[in-house]
Symmetry: C2
Subunit: 291 residues, 2 copies
């Protein structure tokens, strides 16, 4: 299994490592700064999910690297802005200085902006070459990243810092902030691949549950994780006075819920019109991960 996932990861890394290389003149630092955050050891979960899901239906998954990479750029921009002093004020990300610690706040703001802009630009160019299915996949991704998606979750996160939050609002926040981009990595790939409508519906539910399980696992690791493996400080929510699944439900219930969601995910995959062994294995990997 891990060989297959490693293969996807390598394709993504090969593409992203050189993406901004040797670009720019007076503006060179914007490429260096964006490239730095894009290539400091991200797990590439979203683009892997994209390529893997596309590959359930079609062989030419390597031809969709632009779309997969656009999602990783959106994810990376959100991390750069999340880490800013006026947001979570984090110094460390994946074991390395955060973008603003290395390049300064002003450059970090613009590097985040640039990655979002580049992601959209990449999807638009891909759609010119690949037609309507690509454009519909791009629409899903843009919406999942927007105010009713990821940014919606981020805003609920920042306005509730230091406040107690209801379970309903916490669920809303996490489904949007983390869940939407994970869900859309799967759904957009299925749309692009021309998957049957029923499969897209199943994968949408699967993506929702996987995103939630992923976030609960993140919260668990934030409490009991190993800093050297995580590459970021633990107990960051506690230190930022943020509610999370652990503070609301307790550690044991969260572990249980994470397992339940994973089982529901595996059950859903059985309804697909295609074999999905790689996606099953990746789901289990995400449950069992230590970082």
């Amino acid at each position: 299994m891990s060989n297959i996932i490693d293969n996807y990861r390598e394709i993504i890394n090969d593409y992203l490592t050189v993406y901004f290389k040797d670009k720019g003149s007076y503006n060179k630092i914007i490429y260096d700064s964006a490239s730095y955050s894009l290539n400091i050891g991200g797990k590439r979960i979203r683009p892997i999910l994209f390529l893997l899901t596309y590959n359930l239906y079609k062989d030419n998954y390597k031809d969709t690297i632009e779309m997969a990479s656009a999602i990783e750029m959106i994810h990376t921009y959100s991390l750069i802005h999340d880490d800013l002093p006026c947001m979570d004020n984090d110094d460390l990300r994946r074991g390395m200085p955060t973008n603003h610690k290395k390049f300064g706040e002003n450059i970090a703001v613009l590097a985040g902006d640039m990655l979002l802009n580049e992601a959209m630009s990449l999807m638009i160019k891909f759609s010119i070459e690949h037609g309507e299915k690509a454009l519909k996949a791009a629409r899903e991704i843009a919406e999942a990243a927007g105010p009713e998606g990821m940014i919606g979750g981020q805003i609920v996160d920042v306005i509730n810092e230091g406040k107690s939050i209801s379970k309903k609002e916490l669920l809303y926040m996490h489904n949007k902030k983390t869940g939407e981009l994970i869900r859309v990595s799967i759904v957009a790939a299925a749309i692009l691949a021309g998957a049957p409508t029923k499969d897209i519906e199943i994968l949408n539910k699967f993506g929702n549950k996987l995103g939630l399980a992923f976030q609960i696992k993140d919260d668990i690791l934030d409490i009991i994780g190993d800093v050297s493996k995580l590459g970021k400080n633990i107990k960051s929510d506690e230190n930022n006075h943020k509610s999370n699944f652990i503070t609301l439900y307790g550690l044991e219930d969260c572990k249980k819920e994470c397992e339940n969601l994973t089982n529901e995910c595996l059950e859903l995959l059985k309804g697909l019109s295609v074999e999905s062994i790689d996606l099953e294995n990746l789901t289990l990997d995400l449950l069992n991960r230590e970082f």
Copy 2:
């Protein structure tokens, strides 16, 4: 003339005023914050240029309001981020508190992100309905907003704060930071309208010169402008130790250059395959503006 421009402005204002109205639940403040900056009296120059240029070739310009508005959203997001404490640290914009002064820095960062995301989302949805010409216009806009366009100019601006800058680099900076979005408002509209290739080439040159004239005029107003008319503090470049056209060329040469560029713009328009009296008048308006 001003009636025609006012008519375009009204269409844009009507669309943008209600665009984010009554949206959201837990995330409501992201809409309020974005809507605030989008509707505090911007001159709407870019979307007016878009609608007006489209209308040189086709009557149904009202049907392109989404594309025109997307450009205004991109412009607004760039202002919100430019005003941040880690960037220009401006308290006043169009006579009102800047976004971060009213909503806080964290919300301002996200409101800017959201407007960029929404602009792209809007263009992608418009392209699904309107086909390839729309998609090509969207590509031009996304590129003009990106690292080789507006963001490229912004990064050169921030890294040179407090430093002396060569004339070549200043020209690069302004052509990118302000010029590109003005140029693309005109060119993207012509592409969407299906203008002849020769006209698109002329409008591209016209847009370049208009953008430069616009920025030189901005620098002039930054020195001799009326705060109550401008709605922002004057001498902001001086206070931020920034080079601009005035510091490099002096006030009189800048006034002269602004007039020269305007005349070159008017000359270019004569080569178009269509009547362009409205665009000529708007060009003169921009030269003679007091804010």
